[in-house]
């Protein structure tokens, strides 16, 4: 979480515009700040009681001065989001560690063994919790274990309540770290979801504007153009392509599917192939698969569309139907082209042509699915692609 100066960030969130979710992290820090102040005061009190028995009282006074001063410094740092760095938490940890391991000299071995309380008393607890809040489970656990073990080692004891006390530290700091990890994850997920919703809302707004204007005119050009001779037909074709492209962009509900690794909705993804020559129908909605498999399936479908253009003959049309069948997503892909007989199909398979071996069948098999093809002369080619969802 160390950050370059001048770009205030904390916990991955923008500190310039505070939001309610950032307050949740804030409250974690407030707990740490006040725990530390109270534990410093507590240490002051306890040490005052045992002052006459301390081996080097003036050294202990110095230690207490450092504890109080550092508590104020780190408290100040923790108040500001841009200053909450993991580095500060580790420095804090180092100071607490020195206080613990210096205790036998400062207090005297005899006193330390009889009290089983280090020079900082319970103050080092705050450092372990600090690490947990700033870092998370791992940092909290490490900090707690090291400080707890050090306290146990400088004042070895076989008195069970004292051992349990030192062992409680890593448990507490570890669980607090775990909680902070969970909190950060929830906030990150919600931020991503909010960003996605905002992007979709904006697309929705654009979609309305384009639908009411440009799309209507394009559809009209497409319809009327065909009647105006070859030049008009060319315009109609262009309008048709643009209309389909525009429409699929507007209907695309997969925001940044290629940038993130979030699951992709198959129907929305495949509907983008809708065009003058391809009709996409879907009975399934909400068919989510992980981004990698969605991409692979999309590539296989692209291969099939390219095949229609290459092999099905002029004017062939293709239809795609996306269905859910139990735990499988099924994509039917059919064209009304020239088709082929069984012997041609076998020959194509052996020659690895038309994606029958590699780019379609191989891809689907690698995904744990299957691809089957049937065809008859004059009756087009039909594919059935299956992948588990």
């Amino acid at each position: 979480m160390s950050v370059p100066a001048g770009r205030p960030r904390a916990g991955g969130h923008d500190a310039v515009t505070p939001r309610p979710d950032a307050d949740l992290i804030d409250s974690g820090y407030w707990v740490v700040i006040w725990t530390r102040y109270l534990l410093a005061a507590h240490a002051l009190l306890i040490n005052a009681f045992r002052w006459p028995r301390v081996a080097h009282p003036w050294l202990l006074a110095l230690v207490m001065a450092v504890i109080i001063a550092w508590s104020l410094v780190i408290g100040h740092l923790h108040r500001r989001r841009d200053r909450r760095t993991l580095l500060a938490a580790w420095i804090d940890f180092a100071i607490a560690f020195v206080v613990v391991v210096g205790s036998p000299y400062v207090l005297g071995a005899h006193l330390l063994r009889s009290d089983h309380l280090t020079a900082g008393v319970y103050w080092m607890f705050a450092s372990a919790i600090s690490l947990a809040v700033a870092g998370g489970f791992r940092e909290g656990l490490v900090g707690g274990l090291v400080l707890g073990a050090a306290a146990l080692l400088v004042a070895p004891t076989s008195y069970l309540p004292e051992v349990a006390e030192d062992l409680a530290l890593p448990v507490a700091s570890g669980t607090i770290g775990m909680m902070m990890d969970g909190l950060r994850r929830v906030i990150a997920e919600r931020d991503a979801e909010q960003a996605r919703a905002a992007a979709l809302a904006e697309r929705e707004r654009l979609s309305r504007i384009v639908h009411d204007g440009a799309l209507q005119v394009l559809a009209l050009v497409e319809r009327e153009g065909r009647l105006l001779g070859p030049e008009g037909a060319r315009l109609a074709r262009l309008a048709s392509t643009q209309e389909a492209a525009l429409r699929s962009v507007l209907q695309d509900r997969t925001v940044d599917a290629h940038l993130t690794e979030l699951p992709v909705e198959l129907t929305a993804m495949l509907e983008r192939h809708q065009s003058d020559g391809v009709t996409v129908s879907a009975s399934a909605g909400d068919l989510y698969v992980d981004a990698h498999r969605a991409r692979e399936l999309d590539l296989a479908v692209q291969e099939l569309i390219a095949n229609v253009a290459k092999h099905a003959g002029p004017g062939a049309h293709a239809w795609m139907l996306v269905e859910q069948d139990g735990d499988d997503a099924v994509v039917w892909f059919r064209d009304d082209g020239v088709g082929m007989g069984q012997s041609q199909l076998t020959a194509a398979r052996e020659a690895g042509r038309m994606g029958i071996s590699g780019s379609v069948t191989g891809r689907l098999q690698a995904l744990g699915g299957s691809a089957a093809v049937t065809s008859r002369p004059g009756r087009g080619v039909e594919w059935e692609l299956r992948i588990p969802v």
Binding site: L215, L220, R223, E224, L227, S281, A282, L321
Partner: protein, 221 residues
Amino acid sequence: MDELSRRRVMLVDDHPIWLEALTRDLEAEGFEVVAVARSGDECLRRLRATRPDVVVMDLKIPEPDGATCTEIIMREFPETHVLVMSASGERDDVIRAIRAGARGYLVKSASKAELLYGVRRTAEGDAVFTPGLAGMVLGEFRRMVARTEQDDDAPVLTAREIDVLRRVAKGMAYREIADELYVSHRTVQNHVQNVLRKLQLHNRVELTRYAIEQGFSDLEA
């Protein structure tokens, strides 16, 4: 129904150029465009005044939207034949209109010939079942079954109906389907009509049940 008596058409769309073009085309085909409307409000007002036989309805119009208008029309004038059109992809609205009783669905990018054919078929009382609609209806039945696992009145499609619907969704013409299944063209058409009837009947059952549950049992009639 005598074909000649179903020639009075109303067009609902919020785009004037589109309305003009469609009016021209339909009149050239011998239809009489008795009203046009650019919003849901206009649609309902003019419909009650002119009582057309056929309504060509764009789903995306100013409030109330096309699906809601279709619901109201089918309640007030159940003998009206409604053909819905949309820019495609508005699955929920399309299904809502079909459940309410619309007889078919076309995407707005359909060619002029497809459009005129669709209106003619609607006027004659046939279902205009495009591949896109077949896919949506298949999905709707699957969702209904999943939703009402214990509910015995949820309509179920026969294996043959699913087969026919799936072939329609894959772009096969009725004649091709008839050939492959060794049945007549008419049989295929009947299967498709049956599917729509089941969907619409279930819609009425649900509406009635809802009305009773809400205590408005007088709506039942």
